[in-house]
């Protein structure tokens, strides 16, 4: 019996030790994530700051945004393309001008733009106080953040708000300028279109001031914002407002006075590529690219097939060139114009756009956002509309002759301000086909979105006064932002 009790005591002791050693481990409940970086440790090194900066462009690269789909949506809403695929996942409702606020694309484009905006706001707020990098570097990064924020707001306005020229005091979008890192910020009313434009221009002016003339590589010059990117974007913004003098003022900063038009400054050269095809293949970082979305050769970055430009235009194709669109212009049947060489045929004999040619995933064709040809055409239009015809014609010719060396414009097409303007607008449709410009051009000119036909049927015209002239405010905003009014 004595031994038994003794043994029992031992056992008890052993168990108690076990019990307590196991339970009193103080760190047992402190687990930390191993595949993400805790907020408090995410802004601690210069490399982390650069990673945040890269992320801003990564946000633009979102497949629903400038990574691909946003460009496609703009084209689907315009009249250059017919829809070939009736599946809602291919944006057939977008093409049909029949999208509801619950549509995930309506929600996701809005969300992607605001995610980029909040990322920019967070980074700027950190840069204002950081001691990790020098003030001069912080200033440049703030400039880049402002550029990204401006581009995102411009995209939002052009999608969800009435065009400036239609009604600048109409509801724009909620203007978020401070970082949001906690709850309690749901409700914010929409600022007016004009107010948002003022902010965009303010951001771009400040970015122009803070950004360097050039970076250390052509990759950085074309995929990160520099001084000329901010200026170039301003020509687009002012054109949207029909503020032609400002377009001229800005364009003048990066376009030389005489042909060949070029911008040369401290290691950076902007000019038209000598070959049109060169813009869309090869290095993607040539002299014509002012700002492009880059992709590494990996599917972690590149868009899924239905989101990629090449797949939509070329591989499937989900949309093809509508016969009544600009493809009917003789330029595209003139083999001397190199732009006609980027038109092909699919198996159903539809004409298709072949600017983006990598037709197997990863779909890593860079997406051009601003290129020099656009700036020249913005400039030309502003000059034409302000009756500075000679300079305007030179700019127009520069764009045309790059693709068709011996081309002569009919004199009647360039005879006066109106005719020249129309010719320039047509040149834009030819030059920028498939790059997402058609919708914004129709809207800034207050034009009806034309009816169009595709193999899935016809889409009705959309007059400027119609509700679906612009996209609805997404249901995800309406259901949680009590101050946000629907379109």
């Amino acid at each position: 019996m004595i031994i038994k009790l003794y043994r029992m005591k031992n056992l008890l002791l052993l168990l108690s030790i076990l019990f307590f050693t196991l339970s009193c481990n103080k760190d047992f409940l402190n687990t930390v994530p191993k595949t993400s970086i805790e907020e408090s440790q995410a802004f601690n090194t210069p490399n982390q700051i650069i990673a945040h900066l890269n992320n801003l462009y990564g946000q633009l690269q979102n497949p629903i945004f400038y990574g691909g789909r946003y460009i496609i949506f703009n084209e689907q809403r315009g009249d250059e393309f017919g829809q070939n695929d009736g599946n809602a996942a291919t944006g057939s409702a977008v093409w049909n001008q029949n999208v509801a606020s619950t549509n995930e694309y309506i929600n996701n484009v809005w969300s992607a733009a605001y995610t980029a905006i909040n990322s920019a706001n967070i980074l700027m707020s950190n840069l204002n106080t950081t001691t990790v990098i020098s003030d001069s570097l912080a200033k440049i990064y703030i400039g880049e953040s402002k550029f990204v924020r401006a581009l995102a707001y411009l995209s939002l306005l052009q999608t969800y708000a009435k065009p400036y020229n239609v009604d600048k005091s109409a509801l724009g979008v909620p203007l978020r300028l401070t970082p949001i890192t906690s709850s309690g910020f749901n409700d914010l009313a929409r600022s007016s279109v004009e107010e948002v434009y003022i902010q965009i221009i303010k951001d771009l002016d400040e970015a122009e001031k803070d950004l360097p003339v050039s970076n250390t590589s052509s990759y950085l010059n074309t995929t990160h914002a520099i001084k000329s990117s901010a200026i170039a974007l301003k020509t687009r913004v002012y054109l949207n407002q029909s503020n032609y003098n400002k377009v001229i003022e800005e364009a003048n900063k990066i376009v030389s006075n005489t042909s060949p038009f070029v911008y040369n400054n401290n290691g950076i050269t902007l000019k038209l590529e000598s070959s049109f095809a060169q813009i869309f293949s090869g290095s993607y970082t040539g002299s014509e690219s002012i700002f492009s979305i880059a992709f590494a050769n990996t599917t972690t970055e590149t868009p899924p097939s239905q989101f990629s430009l090449a797949f939509n235009y070329n591989v499937q194709p989900i949309i093809f060139l509508a016969t009544a669109g600009i493809i009917s212009d003789p330029t595209f049947s003139d083999s001397k114009d190199s732009r006609s060489l980027l038109i092909g045929l699919d198996k159903a004999n539809h004409k298709i756009l072949k600017k983006f040619t990598i037709n197997t995933a990863p779909f890593r064709d860079y997406v051009p956002v601003i290129r020099y040809a656009e700036v020249l055409l913005n400039y030309a239009e502003a000059l034409a509309r302000t009756n500075q015809l000679n300079q305007s014609i030179e700019l127009l010719k520069a764009v045309r002759i790059r693709s068709n060396v011996n081309y002569q414009f009919a004199s009647d097409d360039i005879v006066d301000s109106d005719k020249l303007t129309n010719t320039i607008l047509k040149e834009r449709r030819i030059e920028l086909l498939g790059e997402g410009f058609r919708l914004q051009d129709l809207q800034r000119l207050q034009k009806t979105l034309p009816a169009k036909s595709g193999s899935i049927g016809t889409a009705p015209e959309v007059p400027v006064t119609a509700k679906n002239y612009i996209w609805p405010i997404p249901s995800g905003e309406l259901s949680s932002n009590k101050l946000c009014l629907p379109n």
Partner: protein, 1059 residues
């Protein structure tokens, strides 16, 4: 015991002593004895531990492990004896001579008094002593049907337990709900504990099915206890929000070692496929739609080289009868110190879906040893290997453990279900030269249809992708629990157990480069491995005592710590270098990481339980538990949970016994419980702010990944339960009744933030919301007939459920280009069916008419300009799914239950099982697909379309490309239907081969053959294939049926042999 003796000798002594104690021994010194045997009336196996008692006397004895007894008494005849044994009908007989006597006992319907409840942490109580709400399912009820996993068997088996088979893809995880849904964005799967091992639950098979619960062989299960209220489940504290299932596997019983062999062979075919158009009708309908839209007809019939019309049934391409078989062998037995059970199972299942095959091996070893008087140890160890293989079906929601899933697979990639519905019947599978008919990488061959006018057919040649694209999911699952128990005294025990669940899961997917979802990437192969690993240590000290034989108290004090890690990695390779390769290890150009997870969560708990009763009349039970969870921020980590219950066994009161009540109502008991439990399935790091790394243009990026909420605290449910048990008609009918109300407070919600906040995922984890579930539950089990040859047992269970979200920051739903079918909104049931009201088809012009939020009728003309007009033709704003949608009703059944009938006559048995549910709505998205006016094939119902003015029909005028009128691109009430159904889920006819007089009877103790049919008949007004089909699995978004392959109808034959 002498202290000088060597240990072995002492051990031997101990065994000897216990043998002496346990064996049937003389109670008194008597003169005479009778020898005899007590046996099971059905199997003739001797019954151990049966007690033979002299009526009006003191003589008593017990049977040995062979069922034999020696009864000593004073030798005076006649002597009346009563024979009693747990689980059998008692018998009174009169003995008149000394002849050897064999007495057969009938098994009885499990009596209220004798049902044991295992309520976790090895606490075993009699159900009559238990005042919580619990349902109990025994192995006998489970074994009626062949099945791969036990959860599939539970439908209609217990009140308040709702189990739905959402599709018949092999090894798909069923929907399991105990008393409804208790969370919105946290986990909603019940906690499942097998022999002390908390299991991983959910769907982990990637694109094809993988249900970790199928790693438990149903044949190994002894009982399943479903703990529903706070009192019974509070001991599990923060893990009990969704209820708890405690599963106990079999152990050996004393007696002759038992060997059991079970097998079955089955054939499964699709149940109730929607009828689709043949080629001729298809071409007529599609061309009519084109003509109605002012277009040239583009569809054309095609004939093969022998002049036979091409009329492809894509159902026949996808489906064929699937043959399956399964085998299970077990050995069990026990000596006085050791009991053991070990088993081996092999299953080979073929679905009716071609190339869908599931193979599984399961093994289990349960062993317990009473080392000495003070120490007991044992282990329950199971290892299984399961391998599922098959095509993408669209039926499986994305990979998820426990949390709510939203399925987008039903429409992406290459879902087989969708393809069978949409593929044109007038195109061939093969070209005349035998090659597959393929248009390009994305489209099936167009046959004679005109590609330039009909648009893209974005559906693949199903035969090709089904054959060439292969997905697999393999589990290697080790679950084990080893325990030691020290009895310091007979009533003070310390038990320590250590459990692991080590689940290694490998998913692979290959999509060929030629045609299908892989074509645009020139072939994709994705492999990933996930290690789900959980360690669980429990120490439990329990003490029980009786005071004056009146006050019974058990008290326990416990500590538990659990660490769960999930570690997964994988990669996607694309752009194959040669079409020769068919898998990941072949040659590819690109590779990218995918499925990388490394997370950990820990739970540290202290708990205590007191059960107290006075004279088995008044019961009190109290549970408290303090849980610390790593997922919450410092300061909020710990939460206190607990529950209490009181019970009153009125039938033990003398006033009751003396009244006339017991003649009618026996065993009347009243119960009440209330308590607080939590939900720990909230993700591993929900409260911290975090950034994740990626690249842009190949350079590092840091992306905001989660917004911090350091104030995040426990999500708790307050559960109230009032219950009543009684029996009627002399214990022939047992009734369990419960009323419950669960209030869930401080719901941890992925609280939607306005999209313009621009925060990751547009949500912040926050405690913002509340809801309740309430209802009643009624279980009636009756033994209607019982005599020597005829036996009829009938069980009915019925439950109601009302769920209401009482506060919510904003609507919770998933925006989609395919409409919003489920909406979680304050004031309504969670995940309610949501749709835009339709008024039907305008008889004047055949257009579908919707009602907008201003109550105005708006009609849709697909080729109109404008498309949306009021009935007077003036332009109207487009219908918007969110603004104009209206909640149509709950997606959760308001009532559900089952009927279980067991009938036997001599050696024949006829059992059937009916399940039913109702009061809820379903969204018949498959019908929307089958109404779509693109190239999609249509249901035969489309032939009733509007064609002439004045015609009344519910199908709009056909317009080519129209996917709006039918409720496809947004949800419309024309596709909302009542979900009420009653289903003859299972019917079994069995024959127990009599063996007692045959030669093999000495070798084989029992043999049963049976034939059964599953899912034979459904009574429902639902127009879809099956009202149980649901594409979102264990999700708050239930009741959506779209593009999923149908359920299976299964016939099987089986054999159970006992040696």
């Amino acid at each position: 015991m002498q202290i000088t003796k060597p240990a072995q000798f002492k051990f031997f002594n101990l065994i000897l002593t216990s043998v002496l104690i346990f064996l049937c021994v003389d109670m008194f010194s008597q003169d005479q004895s009778i020898l005899g045997k007590i046996k099971d009336a059905r199997s003739n196996i001797g019954i151990e531990d049966a007690i033979i008692t002299q009526v009006n006397g003191t003589a008593q004895c017990k049977t040995n492990y062979l069922g034999e007894f020696t009864f000593h008494w004073n030798g005076i005849f006649p002597i009346k004896v009563e024979i009693k044994s747990l689980g059998y009908e008692s018998k009174n007989i009169e003995l008149n001579n000394f002849d050897f006597i064999e007495i057969a006992l009938d098994e009885k319907l499990e009596q209220l008094q004798e049902v044991l409840i295992v309520s976790g942490y090895n606490t075993i109580q009699k159900k009559v002593d238990f005042s919580g709400a619990v349902a109990n399912i025994s192995s006998r009820q489970l074994l009626v049907r062949p099945s791969i996993s036990f959860d599939q068997l539970l439908g209609g088996m217990a009140p308040g337990l709702d189990v739905i088979q959402p599709s018949n893809i092999l090894n798909n995880t069923p929907v399991v709900r105990i008393r409804g849904i208790s969370s919105i964005t946290s986990g909603i799967f019940p906690l499942i504990v097998v022999d002390g091992v908390p299991l991983f639950t959910g769907a982990i098979g990637g694109i094809i099915g993988n249900n970790p619960l199928a790693d438990i062989n149903p044949n190994d299960i002894q009982t399943i206890d479903i703990l529903k209220d706070a009192s019974s489940s509070a001991i599990f504290g923060s893990r009990a929000a969704n209820g708890v299932m405690v599963i106990t596997t079999k152990k050996g019983k004393k007696g002759r070692a038992k060997v059991n062999y079970n097998n079955w062979v089955s054939i499964s075919t699709p149940y109730n496929l929607p009828e689709l158009l043949g080629a001729e009708d298809y071409v007529m309908i599609k061309n009519e739609a084109m003509k109605n839209s002012g277009r040239e007809p583009g569809y054309k019939l095609m004939y093969d080289k022998d002049g036979v019309l091409i009329n492809t049934s894509w159902y026949d391409v996808a489906y064929r009868p699937g043959i399956s078989h399964a085998h299970h062998l077990s050995f069990s037995g026990a000596s006085n110190s050791t009991n053991y059970y070990f088993s081996f199972g092999y299953d080979n299942q073929n679905s009716f879906i071609k190339y869908n095959n599931f193979q599984r091996y399961t093994t289990r070893l349960n062993i317990e040893n009473q080392v000495n008087k003070y120490f007991k140890a044992g282990a329950h160890i199971a290892y299984s290997n399961g391998f599922n293989k098959g095509p993408i079906t669209g039926a499986i929601p994305s990979n998820t453990l426990s949390s709510s899933a939203y399925n987008s697979q039903y429409i992406l990639n290459e879902p087989l279900g969708r393809m069978t519905y949409v593929l044109p019947p007038n195109v061939p599978v093969y070209n005349s030269n035998g090659s597959y008919s393929i248009q390009n990488g994305q489209s099936v061959g167009y046959g004679l249809n005109n590609p330039s006018t009909i648009g893209t057919i974005n559906a693949y040649n199903l035969a090709w992708v089904q054959k060439n694209d292969v997905n697999t999911s393999e589990n290697n699952n080790l679950t084990g629990n080893i325990f030691g128990e020290i009895s310091f005294t007979s009533n003070l025990k310390l038990r320590s157990s250590f459990a692991i669940n080590n689940l290694l899961n490998e998913n692979t997917s290959f999509m060929n480069p030629i045609h299908g979802g892989g074509a645009s990437s020139n072939g994709i192969a994705t492999n990933s491995i996930a290690k789900y690993y959980r360690k669980d240590l429990v120490n439990l000290l329990s003490y029980s005592f009786n005071l004056n034989k009146v006050h019974h108290v058990t008290f326990s004090l416990g500590h538990e710590q659990i660490r769960t890690t999930i570690n997964s990695w994988g990669a996607e390779r694309s752009n194959i270098t040669d079409p020769y390769y068919t898998g990941y290890q072949g040659g590819f150009v690109n590779i990218a990481p995918t499925g990388n997870t490394l997370t950990e969560n820990t739970l540290l708990s202290f708990f205590s339980n007191i059960n107290y009763d006075i004279n088995k009349k008044y019961f009190l039970s109290l549970n408290v538990r303090r849980d610390g969870l790593s997922a919450l921020a410092e300061g909020n980590k710990f939460g206190n949970f607990g529950g209490g219950s009181i019970g009153w066994n009125m039938y033990n009161e003398s006033f009751y016994k003396n009244s006339s009540f017991p003649e009618y109502i026996n065993n009347l008991r009243l119960r009440a419980s209330y308590g607080l439990v939590g939900n720990s399935e909230i993700g591993d790091y929900p409260s911290i702010g975090a950034y994740t790394s990626s690249t842009y243009g190949g350079n590092p990026t840091l992306k905001y990944a989660q917004v911090a909420n350091p104030d995040l605290r426990w999500e708790t449910s307050k559960k109230l339960d009032l219950g009543l048990n009684f029996s009627l008609a002399n214990e022939r009918i047992f009734v369990d009744f419960d009323y419950f109300k669960n209030n869930i407070d401080g719901l941890i919600l992925k609280a939607p933030q306005s999209l313009s906040s621009g925060i990751p995922g547009n949500f912040i984890n926050a405690n913002v919301g509340s809801m309740y579930n309430k209802g009643i539950e009624l279980g009636i089990n009756s033994s209607l007939l019982k005599n020597k040859n005829l036996k009829w047992d009938l069980g009915v269970n019925f439950a109601t459920l009302t769920n209401k979200v009482t506060s919510l920051i904003s609507d919770v739903y998933v925006p989609s280009v395919f409409g919003v079918q489920n909406m979680t909104r304050e004031g309504f049931s969670i995940g309610s069916i949501f749709a835009v009201p339709t008024m039907g088809v305008n008889p004047d012009n055949g257009l579908m008419v919707f009602i907008n939020n201003e109550g105005k009728a708006v009609q849709y003309n697909h080729i109109g300009s404008p498309r949306w007009t009021y009935l007077d033709g003036s332009a109207a704003p487009a219908i918007d799914n969110y603004k104009d949608g209206v909640i149509q009703g709950p997606s959760l059944p308001k009532y559900f239950g089952g009927l279980n009938n067991n009938f036997s006559y001599k050696n024949f048995e006829l059992n059937f099982n009916i399940t039913f549910a109702g009061g809820h709505k379903l969204y018949n998205g498959t019908r929307a697909t089958n109404s779509d006016q693109r190239y999609f094939n249509n249901g035969t119902f489309i032939l009733d379309r509007w064609t002439t003015p004045g015609q009344k029909t519910d199908i709009a005028k056909l317009q080519y490309g129209d996917n709006v009128s039918s409720g496809f691109s947004f949800s419309a009430t024309s596709k909302v239907e009542k979900g009420d159904y009653a289903k003859l889920k299972n019917i079994v006819f069995a024959y127990n081969i009599p063996l007692n007089n045959s030669k093999i009877g000495s070798q084989i103790s029992s043999m049963r053959v049976y034939a059964q049919a599953v899912n034979i008949f459904t009574l429902t007004a639902y127009r879809g294939s099956d009202p149980e089909i649901s594409i979102n699995g264990n999700s708050i978004n239930s009741g959506k049926d779209q593009n999923v392959p149908p359920n299976a109808k299964v016939f099987s034959v089986g054999l159970n042999v006992g040696f």
